[in-house]
């Protein structure tokens, strides 16, 4: 069964129709890259999935749960949205680390706040916090950041910041990771260290959607590629199909203007 199923998603900003009827499906463990030129709706699509934007209509089913239904009149309250957002980990183009906290705190802040909602929190506070910290340290060491745990974001390179951001998202054990152009704000030489981590996650069977301009990377890592153009999914297929044998003229045009 598909872990994520999106049907007829539509979203407009004012008069601009950014998403015109997007449907999409993915299975657990699958890695899907979304490519397309700027303004094609890739980022908006990703943001609609985890409610950073609310779609105008359509339906999103995640792991058997209907998390969004444009037809239902009922407006979701903040708590419901929050629960649904927790199914996803989100990595921003601009990292968005919290500048006043060191690396370790950036990773543990949200899990510790969430732990307060656990019924056994008062009784086991010390143990729960120790567990959260141990897990954070473990993830940070896997990301090669063990020696940076007490540094502040401003003391890190862009690549290191983005790795922290990825660890921060992973610490909450999301079902699906969403990456919004994770390397677009990085110098080329820093791109690889971030891509390596994403590759590592892919090998670990993490379900991921990656909006990216790194064609070579998308080709190497993805099980499937979605090409978006002007608010619709213009073409979708395996990397071999998309890059080797593009069917639509729009994709051919896009690829001919993009360096592989």
């Amino acid at each position: 069964m598909a872990i994520l199923e999106i049907k007829n998603l539509k979203k407009s900003f004012g008069k601009v129709e950014v998403l015109k009827d997007v449907s999409f499906e993915m299975n657990e463990g699958e890695v899907v890259s979304i490519i397309g030129s700027s303004g094609s709706g890739k980022t908006t699509f990703l943001r609609c999935i985890n409610f950073l934007e609310t779609a105008d209509s359509g339906k999103i089913v995640c792991d058997g749960d209907v998390i969004f239904d444009g037809k239902s009149v009922k407006k979701m309250n903040a708590k419901e949205i929050r629960e649904k957002q927790m199914k996803f980990g989100f990595v921003f183009q601009q990292f968005n680390l919290f500048p006043q906290y060191d690396v370790l705190t950036n990773v543990t802040l949200a899990p510790k706040l969430l732990a307060k909602e656990r019924p056994d929190f008062k009784k086991n506070k010390a143990a729960i916090y120790a567990e959260i910290e141990a897990k954070a340290l473990d993830l940070l060491s896997q990301a090669g950041l063990s020696d940076k745990i007490n540094n502040y974001p401003c003391q890190l390179s862009g690549g290191q910041q983005q790795r922290v951001a990825i660890v921060r998202a992973l610490a909450l054990e999301p079902k699906i990771m969403l990456f919004d152009e994770p390397t677009s704000a990085l110098d080329p030489e820093l791109t690889n260290e971030v891509l390596k981590i994403i590759k590592f996650l892919a090998d670990d069977d993490m379900t991921m959607i990656i909006v990216t301009h790194e064609m070579q990377f998308a080709k190497n890592i993805s099980d499937r590629i979605v090409f978006m153009d002007k608010g619709v999914v213009a073409e979708t297929g395996t990397p071999e199909e998309i890059f080797g044998n593009p069917k639509t003229e729009r994709l051919q045009h896009f690829l001919s203007n993009t360096k592989l």
């Binding site: 929050r82 957002q85 601009q94 968005n96 802040l109 706040l113 401003c154």
Partner: protein
Amino acid sequence: MIEFLHTISRIIEDLPSVTMTLLGGFGKSIEIFLITLVLSLPLGLVITFGSMSKIKPIKWLFKTFVWIIRGTPLMLQIIVVFYGPGLLWDANALPRLTAVLIAFVINYSAYFSEIYRAGIESIPQGQYEAGQVLGMTKTQVFFKIVLFQVIKRIVPPMGNEIITLVKDTSLARIIAVEEIIMVAQRYISAKALIWPLFYSGAFYLLFCGILTLLFGYIEKKLNYYRG
């Protein structure tokens, strides 16, 4: 020359008693300063939330309030608070100090609220979104992420405003609250001495100097990170 030396020796002679008297007046100034600060710092935040409200009528209500308070002299506001209730509703006048404090707290909350608003609006949207996607509630995002960054950014303008407050306390004499300027002025009529009035400036200067150092220290403490 002899006259000058004579004046100096009289000043030196009077200095201890004048200092003690002025210190008493300055105590009142500091009292107004501290109470205003403690009350208007949090009240300003409430006004900020009001003027940033998504509900239009609330937003405009608070904006109008800020406009009126910032658009009229504090001196006038003190007079209105003190005499207004009596004139309008035949109510008993408030105690003088209370009237001054009410006017000051309202006035400074309005100014602080605008500084807060500027600080809050300068925080990138990405900080809110990052908190949101990590499952934090709006309250948690504000208090755990945004507020600290706001505080760092508003320390310089707040220092400015708080130092202005020190000197604005002198306006309390308009309804005869015995702060330092009023006490110093009394020497003119009672003893034909004007130098105590000039001397009162030293008290402000010293206190503002201490505040300047304090704000410099806070700024330095918060400088452990950039951004």
